[in-house]
Amino acid sequence: MLFNSVDFAIFLPLVLLLYWSGLLRNVRDRNGFLVVVSYLFYGWWDWRFLLLIVFSSALDFSVGKQIAKAEDQWARKRWLWLSISTNVGLLGFFKYYNFFIDSFLDAFQLLGLTFSPHSLQLILPVGISFYTFQTMSYTIDVYRRKTEATDDALAFFAYVSFFPQLVAGPIERATSFLPQFYQLHTFRDDRFRVGLQLILWGLFKKMVIADNCAYWVDQIFADPGEHSSLLLVLGILLFAFQIYGDFSGYSDIAIGTGRLLGFELRKNFAYPYFSRDVAEFWRRWHISLSTWFRDYVYIPLGGSRVSQGKQIRNVFMIFLLSGFWHGANWTFLAWGFLHALFFLPLILLGRNRKYLEVAGKDRWLPTLGEGLRMLLTFGLVGLAWVLFRAESVGEAMEFYQGLLAFSMDGWKVQHTFPLLGVSCLLVIEWFSRNTEIPFLFRHKMVAVRWSSYWGMALAILLFSPAEPSVFIYFQF
């Protein structure tokens, strides 16, 4: 079920009505209810996906208890590796099997050897990369004694399958999220209101900004050779905002829906396009994934407190893993590699934590220097997005070649329409960069607040495509 579908517009109010009706009087009932509606939500795509999530939940619930019960370190480690290898194995099988088979076949073909392909044409279960990481974080944290193993199966199953963030995050941690399933949440007006505001803003970003950018992006990326450099730059710009509107929009809706149910989900985006270097960008983009890799891979490898050679290795490892997490394609690996190259000088010079505060703090506008740095960072990130969006590395190279042609023809008046939307988003975000929700929703004048609610809702009705489009990150 998609957040931007009529199905969800019916599903969510019904869930809320039952959830807050008073029929579910204790935590156990609430968790049971959440598991049922979450499975309904997830099974809407394909009921067979449920088998995998139930298996993954059951495995990690049992492993968590075994780790807690085990007395010696060796036994604890064995149980942990069972969890990690099974989860990574499932992820690898469903997500990467065909990629590896096809890549091996290609490699053998280069050597003049041909084999008949045995790709299984597996269907990738929606959201598998997200919930697998979430359940793994639980067993790892139990192993590290950062969290207690839970005895409450319902709470754990609800934690893994919680429908607002099940298919595309934010990737939660057992330490902060699981305890929320032990509490009986009370209805709070302020939390509910912010939840609704986040959902409205998320839908606006997805359905008005991202989906309208997508129309042009698809055309430009479908045939980069047929477009001038100017239009290719437009393609990059619009894709940058398509993926941002799409994914941050999804995250806002997820966080908002969580609030409607009384839950707090972690922040996933913090105005990344106002970053002044790539390190800051990665502190503001897909935060729940970057911090997952930081905490479970980068720091255990020694992070930046190791020799320079190992630092370089760690940086490449983290970015290549992050690229590969996104999908079984060389383009994602190349994307990760490029980001590692952008990031490396900052970490080697010890400048990776230079910008911790938001840009233009206590000012209306950024300084000229800040503006230029933001532009440069956006340019680098945009160049890397080409790899992320292209179907193959060859296609991305064709795109880069087109950029270097410096041709300027083909501009049409219609190209300005998505740019108007993007400008509107940038202005709203700039003035909201210190807060969670758009400044318009917090304005002291009632008329401004209500006009923006109605204006955004009407814009969604008016400018969204008739067919709800799938969120980009669902494929990961």
Binding site: V413, W450, W454
Partner: protein, 324 residues
């Protein structure tokens, strides 16, 4: 909780009001600048409902724009004293035809139904544009409500009932083009001549016909016809048989140059013939326009529709096919 619920209700009511207001405004602008064929549905149904209720028609035409731009009931009446009406509409899918038929028989039951088959409509998943404009013009009846529940998805039902702005927004590009570029689609729509028929007099040149268009790109998937449309054809056949209404299928002529572009035309012909045979209905396939005396550059106004001259020539050759 109460103040919040009041605020949510105010928001939703306000949104509803604004949505109707905006839809109305877009409707007014749309009427000014763009017909795109859909405004003809209103003329068509208004005229149809002006016919005395309960009288019977000799022929009811159903189908896509190939039907409403291809069968001229007035010409047929003056030539052969046949009383007919054309309820074809832009992109009318078989599923829409099925519901148009059910609604039409309540007002004027026909003796013969001639259903035009255009392969493109069998691939159309969206019902809103082709079906919605018919639905909106229909008189209230149980058949009309059945149409709503059976043919449309939830989004389309919302667009047709409580969120008209979802339907009206389709006109936005045309409105913008009119006011930004002065490109008025009204000029290209044609003239409503009565009894559902819309006439165009222009001719397309061979050069225009040879230039790339959607037919060049067209490649049909293995199961290109949607099951819901196949089922609708079966339902139409059953419905007519039950009511003793004669049913015939026909495909309208297309320019030879267009037909040559369609790689899968043979598959399309075979599919439509087999479908007709399966439901036991006589099918006349004039798509290839061979032996009809039609010339691409004289008798078509675009790459797939007959012009007024072409309609005259074609309709004269249908006397036998249309006789009871």
């Amino acid at each position: 909780m109460k103040p919040l619920l009041i605020r949510i209700s105010v928001f939703l009511l306000g949104l509803m009001g604004l949505n109707f207001l905006l839809a109305y405004a877009l409707g007014v602008l749309e009427r000014d600048v763009d017909k795109r064929g859909y405004a003809f549905d209103r003329y068509r149904w208004e005229e149809f409902y002006q016919l005395p209720k309960g009288d019977s028609l000799d022929i009811l035409f159903l189908g896509s724009s190939h039907a409403y731009r291809g069968f001229d009931p007035q010409q047929m009446e003056s030539s052969w004293r046949i009383k007919s009406f054309n309820l074809g509409s832009s992109g009318q899918t078989p599923l829409t035809s099925w519901h148009v038929l059910q609604n039409a028989v309540l007002h004027q039951p026909p003796k013969l139904v001639v259903m035009e088959l255009y392969f493109y409509t069998f691939m159309e998943a969206d019902q809103l544009n082709n079906g919605g404009n018919n639905w909106l013009q229909m008189e209230a009846s149980s058949a009309k409500w059945r149409f709503l529940w059976q043919a449309f998805d939830l989004y389309e039902i919302s667009a047709l009932t409580i969120l008209p702005v979802l339907r009206r927004k389709n006109a936005l590009p045309y409105i913008l083009r009119k006011y930004l570029r002065g490109d008025d689609h009204l000029d290209h729509a044609g003239k409503y001549k009565g009894a559902g028929y819309v006439e165009r007099n222009e001719r397309i040149s061979t050069q225009q016909l040879s230039s790339p268009d959607l037919y060049d790109e067209l490649g049909l998937a293995a199961n290109w016809a949607l099951p819901k449309h196949e089922k609708a054809i079966e339902e139409i056949a059953k419905f007519c048989a039950k009511r003793d209404i004669e049913l015939r299928f026909i495909s309208a002529p297309m320019p030879t140059l267009t037909v040559q572009k369609i790689k899968d035309q043979d598959r399309i012909d075979t599919y439509l013939q087999e479908l007709a045979t399966k439901v036991g209905v006589n099918y006349r396939n004039d798509t290839h326009n061979s032996g009809l005396g039609l010339v691409d550059s004289l008798h078509f106004f675009d790459n797939n529709h007959l012009n007024a001259e072409g309609v005259k020539i074609w309709n004269q050759q249908l006397k036998e096919f249309l006789s009871p």
